[in-house]
Amino acid sequence: MIRRFLFSREALLVGAILLLLALISTRFPAFTAPSNLASVFNDTSPLILLAIGQMIVILTKCIDLSVAANLALTGMVVAMTNLAFPGLPVVAILVLAIALGTVMGMFNGLLVWKLGIPPIVVTLGTLTIYRGIIFLISNGKWVNSHEMSPAFKAFPRAEWLGLPVMSWMAILAVVVFSVVMSRTTLGRAFYAAGGNPHAATYAGIDVGRTQFWAFTISGALAGLAGYLWVARYAVAYVDIAAGFELDVVAACVIGGVSIMGGIGTVGGALLGALFLGIIKNALPVVDISPFWQLAISGAAIIIAVILNAQANRAKGRIILKSAEHPA
């Protein structure tokens, strides 16, 4: 068990993250203070949420480019709902956000499942449609901090055991989906549908429906992240999280999720997101010009992808490990 972990992709990533932190602390020791690390984790929470959903979608040989647009549209809708009904309890807002995200995810999933349109085409289309709808409903206007009710803004920042609720949401998602992916038939179906669709079909798994559920989960997480994002930064506008979908895919790939499907873990997606999050948070504090940040994160993505490809040539996730290695 320990031996297996030591040689896994996750261990490699943990090592890379520790090395990164060590490098940063030589130039800026305060970065590795627990309170600062907690705030870096909090900043990375939306990326973690979306990366988990994206990982599941990529596992099934699909891709969801509409997550950031889903996040932005959900965020705008809940912000405008809050504007119209300031008295609405946060629980209702939360339910609305998750429901709306789920519906948008289901729409993607249905097009992929029932019409057999390639996922990249579907989500490229819905990406532009969802973004356009934000403009239509908001008329291009912003919803600003002073227009939001205090309860709406307070929820993601409320602290529980020293961590903001936003961080707890990410932790909760990691725990829930770790269990779903490793302990349920649905989780196994995601791996099977992406690992070998034909074999999965013969094993009685409906590949299309499995992909539909992957998109649904991705949408639900994007909806949740949409409310958290808008409430945390206390502003909603059309271009929120523009281009974020590529960060999400990058986090997955850094985390060892194979773009060909079938390979990946929740832990990997989490670590990939943290890796990107640490880089983005560290660059400003170690006094690197903001203009360098994009190039550095691009280079980090490429290097991570190269390392990953070297470490994992021709290895797949074997579902029945015990059957392959008896005793």
Binding site: V121, G125, T126, I129
Partner: protein, 328 residues
């Protein structure tokens, strides 16, 4: 999913039947429909100068889309094209500041494009990495370098003869850009549909292993395609920079998705192996007409994106819905 299966019985039909049912004729119908709708919707539409201006909406994107079409047919994708364009434009801007003339600027733009494309090509073909991931990385990298060079500044002050590439007219209302677009469309159509290289591109997209065993140098062809996409991004950079007369690091943000949309709308299968250049040309006109027509009606740019997105999904979904309905 099963585009290839759909084509087999088609071969048994007469050429006329086949071309009437083809993707291209469906797209032409859409284009004509939008054209007619536009001319009813706005009295300013049917004006030679307006229509000529409308071509600027799509010519630069279409130039990149031609090369992207070949790349997608071969089963790869390049999401870094807009970033390459920005970097090439930045390099031209930097050169213009130190007094390089128009021919030198064009050479620099094309060279940067080729270099970036070659970088993508090396990563994908030599290291065997998936292109979608590589180009997400290089997309940040290339645009990041533009930010490093330019910061929050912009470059202006290009030589006056440089303006010809984006603003010059060859004859009456026919712009230089449109002529370039037409010539490039002809070249790409010839290369893809009439040469061994084009045949190799289809073969690789349908079955890369099979292509390799039949003697096609798969890695070399793919590398060439990445270089071509980079080159076309450089060409588009020359046109766009010359047309705008300025360079910012945020130039052409989001174009990669519009270009992929154009290619897919043109009937190129995102799974590789099928598609035509005429299809992409018509899709370019469709997208250009839609944005231009909606612009005349004062519809804001972002709402046009709803139409483009719906068009993308609708045009692909409708034939499938139709066949499902007929079977039911």
């Amino acid at each position: 999913m099963t585009d290839t299966a759909r084509h087999i019985p088609d071969r048994l039909q007469s050429p006329l039947q086949r071309s009437l049912k083809s993707w291209e004729s469906l797209l032409i119908l859409v284009a004509v429909g939008i054209f007619v709708a536009n001319s009813f919707a706005s009295p300013y539409f049917l004006n030679a100068w307006n229509l000529s201006d409308a071509t600027f909406n799509f010519t630069e994107k279409a130039m990149i889309a031609f090369a992207m079409a070949l790349l997608i047919i071969s089963g790869e994708i390049d999401l870094s094209v807009a970033a390459i364009l920005a970097l090439a434009s930045t390099a031209m801007g930097a050169a213009a500041q130190v007094g390089v003339g128009a021919p030198g600027l064009v050479l620099i733009g094309l060279a940067v494009g080729v270099a970036c494309g070659a970088f993508n090509g090396v990563l994908v073909t030599l290291m065997g990495l998936p292109s979608i991931v590589v180009t997400i990385g290089t997309m940040s990298l290339f645009r990041g370098i533009s930010y490093i060079i330019l910061g929050d500044q912009s470059y202006q002050g290009y030589p006056t003869d440089f303006a010809f590439f984006g603003q010059g007219y060859v004859w009456w209302v026919i712009s230089f850009e449109f002529v370039l677009f037409a010539v490039l469309a002809g070249i790409y159509a010839f290369v893809l549909h009439k040469t061994n290289f084009g045949r190799a591109v289809y073969a690789i997209g349908n079955n890369a292993t099979g292509a390799l065993f039949s003697g096609i140098r798969v890695a070399r062809v793919k590398f060439t395609l990445f270089v071509l996409t980079g080159l076309m991004s450089g060409v588009a950079a020359v046109c766009l920079t010359s047309r705008l007369g300025s360079t910012r690091p945020s130039i052409a943000v989001g174009w990669e998705l519009e270009i992929v949309t154009m290619v897919v709308l043109g009937g190129v299968s995102i799974l590789g192996g099928s598609g035509t250049i005429p299809g992409v040309v018509i899709a370019a006109f469709v997208m250009g007409l839609v944005t231009f027509g909606l612009g005349l009606l004062n519809v804001p740019g972002i709402v046009m994106s709803i139409v483009i997105g719906a068009l993308l999904i609708g045009v692909i979904a409708l034939p499938r819905l139709w066949s499902m309905w007929r079977r039911a």
